[in-house]
Amino acid sequence: MRETLRLGALLAAVCAASGLALGFVQRATQPRIEQAAARELAESLAVVLPGAAGFSGARERPLPGGGSVTFYDGYGADGRIAGYALPAERQGYQSPIRVLVGIATDGTVTGVRVLSQAETPGLGARIEETEAGESLWARIGLLFGGRGGGDAPSPRPWFLEQYAGLRADEIVLRGPAESGKGIHAVTGATITSRALTDAVRDAVGEFMRAGVPEEGRGG
């Protein structure tokens, strides 16, 4: 019996020691994690609401269809409301796709940015893909002091650009090669493209149906 107690105590001591150590590590890294998250949010807000200069903190608002949505106000340089940004999420092919959607006051989408997704690389993940960017050889050339060949145009995510300027009812998924207005899916990744499109359309549709939120002068 004594042996059991002694071994139990030893195991408890090892666990407590590691708990202590991890507590200190956590305290050291926690601020940085929050900082990184905040920076990420600010960056996303700037991308989805290009016109806006300042943003409000997260605001909560009930939705007609039940539940509520957190969103951010975007203020133009003159201090008036320029638009809103709201997160949306939908299960993609193999992972939840979280996006941030920017809307102007008249309900047209100003920009979409993917916050997180772990879709299949080379297929679903191509929703975030930018133009090819410079090839490996060009990069190696740069490495060895070759001319930079002019800075390549900052690569733009072609799939997400399609949403800009559309109203909720115009956001319809089309095949990659189909003509006509709407969102052209990424070849070979229809499930992911549809998930993203549905997420954006429903978020914008539901938000606008609840009317323009009242003027909340945030920070």
Binding site: E3, R6, L7, L10, L11, V14, C15, S18, A21, L22, V25, Q26, T29, R32, I33, A36, A37, E40, S95, S116, A118, T120, P121, G122, L123, A132, G133, E134, S135, L136, W137, A138, R139, G188
Partner: protein, 221 residues
């Protein structure tokens, strides 16, 4: 690996065995889960390899020093009692280092942390680390264990990079995310998917064993 410098037991031998003779993935065949899942791009592979090596180094350091001090200060029967709960102790130590990696990566490399996803916590059950802690670290001094851990970690990372280079090149025509073959290249998308990973690993493992069989060393498995 010339055995002249210190032979298989010497410093160089301890280190180099992890890379070739006892490569964790191709020879001992452990830690397949992260190897296949993460080897989609070389960048991920290096990230996972570095994380696993850090945990390996940290845990072997703690395990070898802990077991060393216990062996010195505890009387032999007492030490045999401690032997009964050695595995849970190793698990706690390894899990702590994995949590540290999880937190640090979350803070300083959020993009990599998101891409590696659930495979960062799964380093805990990665058999290589528990295996080296049990088979080596608890029986040898701190110095030798660290060398062994470094060798194993490097072996794991190199194997991961080899696997992911093949898969990224064939599957997406890219290396480190930059296209290699120019626009005309039609990538074999299956390589980035699950079947490609399994088949590539099987073939690479066969290649390693073929090389060893020709050198007369009997294929272990």
């Amino acid at each position: 690996m010339s055995a002249a410098r210190g032979g298989p037991e010497g410093a160089w031998g301890q280190f180099s065995k992890g890379v070739f003779r006892l490569n964790p993935i191709f020879v001992i065949i452990l830690g397949l889960c992260p190897a296949l899942a993460v080897s989609v791009s070389v960048a991920n592979a290096i990230g996972m390899g570095a994380a696993a090596t850090f945990v390996l180094l940290g845990s072997t350091l703690v395990v070898s020093s802990l077991m060393g001090t216990l062996r010195r200060f505890f009387s032999p029967p007492l030490y045999r009692q401690v032997q009964r709960i050695r595995i849970p102790i190793y698990i706690v130590v390894i899990a702590s280092f994995v949590t540290i990696v999880d937190l640090v990566m979350h803070a300083w490399a959020p993009a990599l942390h998101a891409r590696l996803g659930i495979f960062v916590p799964l380093i805990v059950v990665n058999c290589i680390i528990l295996g080296r802690a049990e088979a080596f670290a608890s029986r040898h001094g701190v110095g030798a264990s660290l060398l062994d851990a470094l060798g194993m970690g490097l072996g794991f990372t190199l194997a991961l990079c080899l696997l992911s280079a093949v898969r990224e090149l064939l599957g997406a025509g890219r290396l480190f995310g930059a296209p290699v073959f120019g626009p005309a290249f039609r990538p074999a998308l299956v390589m980035t998917l699950a079947p490609g990973a399994l088949i590539t690993l099987g073939l690479l493992m066969g290649l390693f064993r073929y090389r060893r069989l020709r050198r007369g060393d009997d294929g272990l498995l």
